[in-house]
């Protein structure tokens, strides 16, 4: 059958505009933009990360001294926030997966003619500003909000206990905010499963749980991988939820980078932390993708 693939590949020879320079002409403007405003800033950031304050002592003025110890200093200064970022992001990702999977499954297999409408409804909440939504949560979960009032009235929580300004609130906010990034890829891969394969599994003596474990879940794995990545990456770098819903003890690495940049004007440390965050995420992603055996992401 190899030749069929070869035929399919070559069949594309007469299609579209076929000057060899065309693809490059199409690529150049966009890629140039990405090189100038994504790649170059990253290189620039890398260079900033090893700078030290200039002799003049002027605030915000740094010179390149290739001081790689900046990384060690930056990390030891923000170790706590760093680990917290990764842990919060992991928990939020798992919670989002737990919420999204049944939801995506229901939309893919149980929604009938309502499928498109439900899909729109999944995305719809994200048309309001995510800051407004996060602040809404803050007020809903706040001490004067309905949830705390009811819980206190039922004596489930003590009169002094609140829900906001806590790790719980931060993780809840993150879970909520990145939910569609999880649901949509899950839906896309579940939707591609032929329901007959699930019936076949049932026909071949698999009960509902075995069918899910041996057929549905493995087939939806690309969606699981894409969804968890799309949730984990922004969650790990997020600091808005921590700022709005947390307390000083729930600060994440994003908070540190932000304050280093704007408040302390310590660009090298901010740059070093940015790079470590990016490296940590890319390493985790690479390991995860390799272990789950799905190479195609884009």
């Amino acid at each position: 059958m190899a030749f069929v693939a070869a035929v399919a590949k070559r069949s594309s020879t007469v299609r579209g505009i076929k000057r060899p320079s065309t693809p490059y002409l199409l690529l150049i403007p966009g890629l140039l933009w990405l090189c100038l405003f994504f790649i170059y800033p990253l290189i620039n950031l890398a260079s900033t990360s090893t700078q030290t304050p200039s002799e003049s002592g002027e605030i915000g003025s740094y010179v390149q001294t290739f001081r790689f110890a900046n990384y060690i200093d930056a990390f030891s200064g923000a170790r706590e926030q760093f680990t917290r970022s990764i842990i919060y992001a992991l928990i939020a990702t798992l919670l989002a997966l737990a919420i999204s999977y049944p939801l995506a499954y229901a939309i893919a297999f149980k929604s009938g003619k309502w499928k498109n409408l439900l899909l729109v409804l999944v995305v719809a909440p994200f048309f309001t500003s995510f800051l407004l939504r996060t602040i809404a949560w803050k007020q809903i979960l706040g001490n004067e909000g309905p949830v705390v009032t009811v819980l206190r009235g039922l004596h489930i929580i003590g009169p002094q206990t609140g829900l906001t300004a806590s790790a719980f609130a931060v993780v809840t906010g993150m879970t909520y905010n990145f939910l569609p990034f999880m649901t949509l890829p899950l839906y896309a891969s579940l939707e591609r499963i032929d329901p007959r394969t699930l019936e076949a599994a049932g026909d071949l003596y698999a009960n509902a749980i075995t069918t899910f474990r041996k057929v549905t879940f493995p087939l939806s794995l690309p969606g699981v991988v894409a969804g968890t990545l799309l949730t984990f990456i922004p969650a790990a770098g997020d600091y808005i939820n921590a700022t709005l819903l947390g307390n000083p003890k729930t600060k994440m690495v994003g908070n540190v980078i932000e304050s280093r940049f704007f408040e302390i004007v310590d660009y090298p440390t901010a740059a070093a932390l940015s790079f470590m965050l990016m490296a940590a995420i890319l390493i985790l992603v690479a390991v995860y993708v390799r272990r789950s055996g799905t190479d195609e992401l884009v």
Partner: protein
């Protein structure tokens, strides 16, 4: 009863998930009708006042205007550049393809704070002050990848036989593109533009780094959150929600009427 529950468990679960998704929306909308005065934290009575005068609170509408302007310009540029890349990737064979794919993927895998911080550092190094255009540049940068991925998916789902049929029916390469390829990819481009706009409009982190003193709508919300957000912000949030929902639903309706394939 128990059988009914176990049979419909997944639907009940999905329903609850939707409730969870919509709680903050309902809250935001409800409080847009709050006769709030200065602080919109507690319910003080129903009013249409905020809806009649959405620009009533200081700065709300100038912030909104900035966000819309940035959103439109960034969407336009990102959609054009991203669509061009998507066509190159989807319709041509060339060297360095995997490098291009990586370059498209990386911005999506980079935390926003890193994107924002690195751009700001570069602008400062070059002596460019943060503000309107640096923000537009930043938004185009992070929107391109999403446009490429969306449009590429649409191109990939296109049957190459359709283009062959057009050429077979006396359409030259240019005409084939104009009459068949482009119209068929159009819904994908439209969807990509919508996505780019909502990403741009809703962005806070990267904007916060690169906009300097310019206020965008998310920045306005963030800054005023400390002392309570004016109810007018809820009105604008609700309006954006209804508008976007309307556009998407109308788009769905049109496409389901137009080509049921």
């Amino acid at each position: 009863m128990r059988r009914w529950i176990s049979k419909n468990l997944i639907k009940i679960y999905a329903f609850l998930a939707f409730v969870y998704l919509f709680i903050p929306i309902a809250y935001t909308m409800a409080f847009s009708f709050n006769d709030a005065g200065k602080s919109n934290l507690t319910w003080r009575g129903f009013t249409f006042k905020n809806w009649q005068n959405p620009c009533g609170a200081p700065e709300v509408c100038s912030a909104l205007g900035n966000s819309l302007k940035i959103g439109f310009i960034a969407t336009l540029i990102a959609t054009i550049l991203g669509t061009m890349i998507a066509f190159a990737l989807g319709r041509h064979r060339f060297k360095g393809r995997s490098t291009v794919n990586l370059l498209i993927f990386l911005p999506m895998a980079t935390p926003e704070i890193v994107l924002g911080a690195s751009l700001l550092a570069m602008f400062l190094n070059l002596g460019i002050n943060p503000g309107f255009w640096p923000t537009v540049i930043a938004h185009v940068m992070f929107c391109i990848s999403f446009v490429v991925v969306t449009v590429k998916a649409r191109i990939a789902s296109l049957d190459p036989k359709l283009e062959e049929a057009a050429m077979d029916l006396y359409a030259s390469e240019v005409e084939t593109f104009r009459r068949v390829t482009f119209p068929l990819v159009m819904p994908g481009i439209f969807g990509a533009a919508l996505l780019a706009f909502s990403l741009s409009f809703d962005d806070f982190i990267i904007t916060n780094f690169n906009s300097g003193t310019l206020t965008t709508f998310p920045k306005f919300v963030y800054v005023s959150s400390a002392r309570g957000i004016p109810a007018q912000a809820n009105v604008i949030g609700s309006l954006m929600f209804l508008l976007a929902l309307g556009i998407v639903l109308a788009g769905q309706l049109v496409s389901s009427r137009k080509n049921r394939v």
